[in-house]
Symmetry: C4
């Protein structure tokens, strides 16, 4: 889940001087004032272009505002093209940027508009522009949200093996349950094939329950009832896993204020009498009131 | 989430003497006997007026009891008007009350009835009266429920950054998933536009699953299955977050106040008779009442 | 939630001698061998009678097995009548038993059959017999399940104030959301009245989502999406509350093996050095491996 | 939930020498290089045969690829037959293997194909082959996933009594709720019998909500609303139970092994360099690999 952000990417090569260094600082580094402003402006631009793509899909609006939406699309395409070219120009190793995760997305988000100019059927690919929205995850670099995101990501990362076991169990259960229901209910009750039955099994076990496919025979309803009740226990696992993991990491992070007077290590437990890093005696713990 | 309650609001200005002070004590202060009685009576009145609004919306009843419901509405309007005027009269700074949160709601809840007298089309706004129901949250000032509400609000407040990250993730996921399904399933299968697809994505990822829109193509069903399983992990986060936060705050509140008079260790259990660290006798536990 | 069980109920009056004492021991006391056997037999009888009521509701079976089901019903009625009469005979204060919770249920479960003999329309009340099933909760007296039930009931009992706050919040949210959707969508889209809209709001916020009523207008779908996402945070509360409460009570119950050598009190914490009840020094804690 | 795996099963009798020992090592023991390869190959073969069964159920594909699917089925049948015969040959006590859990499944997965050769109606039983997929749970023996599976299984095993109490409560609630709704709504609104109403009650209380059956009368909708809200509290239990259980076992497993050589305090963190109680230097932490 580690998202490759473009903030201060040394691997692209920071240019040594001149306008390229100035532009590099603005575009790739978020710690200067101009850099932060560029980031916010880019994010707003991306959100606007996403909004246009979304609005463009509503037929009523598309028919009425055909002209306006077309102009807006070309404005965004040109702005993104300029941004892409400047990014290429001001890094030392343009190829590295062009082949990086966000480099490819940046290219993909402008290409379809140009291709559609010659071959109109490419226009449907304009929606790829939505991927640029992944830059929103840069918000996770904002200090206020960074810690929280880290705790959540850490909890997910620590639970990944458990979640794999859970997903494998779900997959096997859905195959078995899907096959049983395909045999019990059969195509005439909507369970037209095992893949469709497996789709039904997942819709049921996640308690989504669209109702597009549902059991009609008494035996099928009985199996469904059992599957829902037993499946509920299985479905309870990810919540429990992530919750327990979060409680653990939040507890482990709690006592961060105690500092060793000798080696300045932080985060000693409330009951500790000596620094766990250098063995120096700690001052008695001042508990918070509240 | 801090709800502005009208109990003992010094900023409105407590009058110094006479009938205004007496009325102020009854209406704005909940700690006297008359004040508590007024509070309960007002709450019952509000609940009755809400009930009338709800019942009034049932066509069968409205046609049969048109006259009775109209009379009840005017009784409530007059009572609320009297209350509003008295509130204005007995505070020192009426303007402050009139522009406060509950002051505006109190006015809005009586205005539509009077306007409808002249312009019948305003009658639909009578439902604004429902907002007065927010006064029910005064119940949170009742000692028995106050602590519990505080724990819940505290848990929500502590989790707010995590929940923001979660909501942002959900928003981005719903845009991506909505666009993918709009492209895969298309308008002919009910995914008529990206906004509608996003609505479907949220209905699916929260496992609500109305079934008004659902995938028809095998590819769409496969993407839906994956989205439900993976989305389940994301959806597990708020439960985990709030649960972990609650467990933390409940643990932190439990037995922290008892202190050994000899070695000053804190956190003895309520039933303990001797210090678990030095064996010194403890003073009898003073249990909270509530 | 404290279920009044009929096991060894001294308030009914234990007879002093003779056959009444023998029968009392069998029927009301579960600790003798005969008493346990009677309990198991009664439970099986109740389950069978419940099964007959359930099967009787299936039209296909009722038509085919009309005669058999009628006979079975009368057998159960007679057996329960005999049990009821014996219970009345062998206690010292029959009136007390007759007016106790299970006494009333026992009477109600046989009365409809007799009434239906004279007035056939009373037959529908035979289903009251299902209430006898509440005796199944006697299973909670079985040592193996008693502790577990206690932990669960304790967790629910400790959370009752929090759950009240949660239910009140849900009620207010459903009124507000129901009214908003009644105004936004209106009767033509299925939101025929505020009560129906409130029913929809609860179906939505609990993520059940039948789909019998669902938003049709873009604004309604937007409000629904927000309601589901925000409501998910509210819905996460009971899970979090009960989970945290369970974790607390399970943790509090954990260290039960340490025993004071002097006063034999159990359940000292792992880090305790002295008995918290008598102050006697404790042997060092032998931690489990595993 | 303890899954009988066929890895190194001494009860089948390890042959003493010759080709039977060599084959036994390959087929039944997973710790040698050849054994691991055989395991992986067998797993892939099983997954392929499952895939063929799934694809075979899609009518469009079955009609077009009738011939290819038939050949593939016979290839899998022959390969599984060879495997079955070799397994029988190379163990000392073939009968014990033949009557073991996986021995029976191995036989059942090849029998239907042969029977269908003579009696075509047996062909539907070919789906039994899916049960071979249970061998996938051997993946739980892979060290990386073993621990995680153990934690999850342990949490489920510890919660089994609580989950039994939960399932019993759900069963009783569904009978009572089903009967009430059968009486209130009746057959004309889809609640055709008590079993069907019970199916509806479980669909509702697990918040699946297909919508195939839903209340139509105001009273039914009110009861449903209450059932969903109150049922939500009950449904919250398994999540809470499993989550609390997981948190407990994860906490118990964390840093319990490190012991101070001087004061013998246990439970130091992995990064600690000195005892937090007496300040004595700790031996470097021996981290687990896995």
């Amino acid at each position: 889940m580690r998202m490759t952000s473009s903030t201060a990417r040394p691997e692209f090569g920071k240019p040594e001087e001149g306008w390229r260094l100035r532009w590099y600082t603005v575009i790739f580094e978020a710690d200067t004032r101009a850099g932060r402003r560029f980031d916010v402006a880019l994010l707003l631009l991306i959100l606007c272009s996403v909004l246009v793509v979304i609005i463009d899909s509503v037929e009523v609006v598309r028919e009425r505002e055909f002209f306006l939406l077309g102009i807006l699309e070309w404005i965004f395409t040109l702005l993104f093209t300029v941004e892409y070219v400047v990014r290429l120009l001001c890094v030392k190793r343009p190829w590295r940027y062009a082949t990086s995760f966000f480099g490819v997305i940046d290219l993909l988000s402008i290409l379809p508009s140009y291709l559609a100019f010659f071959l109109p059927e490419f226009h449907v690919l304009v929606d790829i522009r939505l991927l640029r929205m992944l830059r929103v995850f840069r918000v996770m670099k904002i200090p206020r949200y960074f810690d929280e995101s880290q705790v959540l990501l850490q909890a997910l990362r620590n639970s990944r093996h458990k979640i794999m076991v859970f997903l494998a169990t779900m997959a096997i259960l859905s195959i078995i349950l899907g096959t049983v229901m395909y045999v019990v209910e059969g195509p005439k009750n909507g369970f037209t094939s095992i893949p469709v039955s497996m789709y039904w099994a997942i819709v049921t076990m996640t308690t989504t329950g669209y109702g597009d496919i549902h059991p009609h025979t008494p035996l099928g309803q009985m199996i469904t009832s059992l599957a829902m009740l037993l499946g509920y226990g299985v479905i309870a696992l990810p919540t429990g896993i992530v919750g327990a993991e979060l409680a653990m990491s939040m507890m482990a992070r709690k006592p961060t204020t105690r500092t060793c007077p000798d080696c300045l290590t932080e985060g000693h437990e409330a009951e500790a009498g000596f620094c766990k890093h250098c063995g120096h005696a700690l001052a008695p713990y001042q508990r918070d009131t509240g």
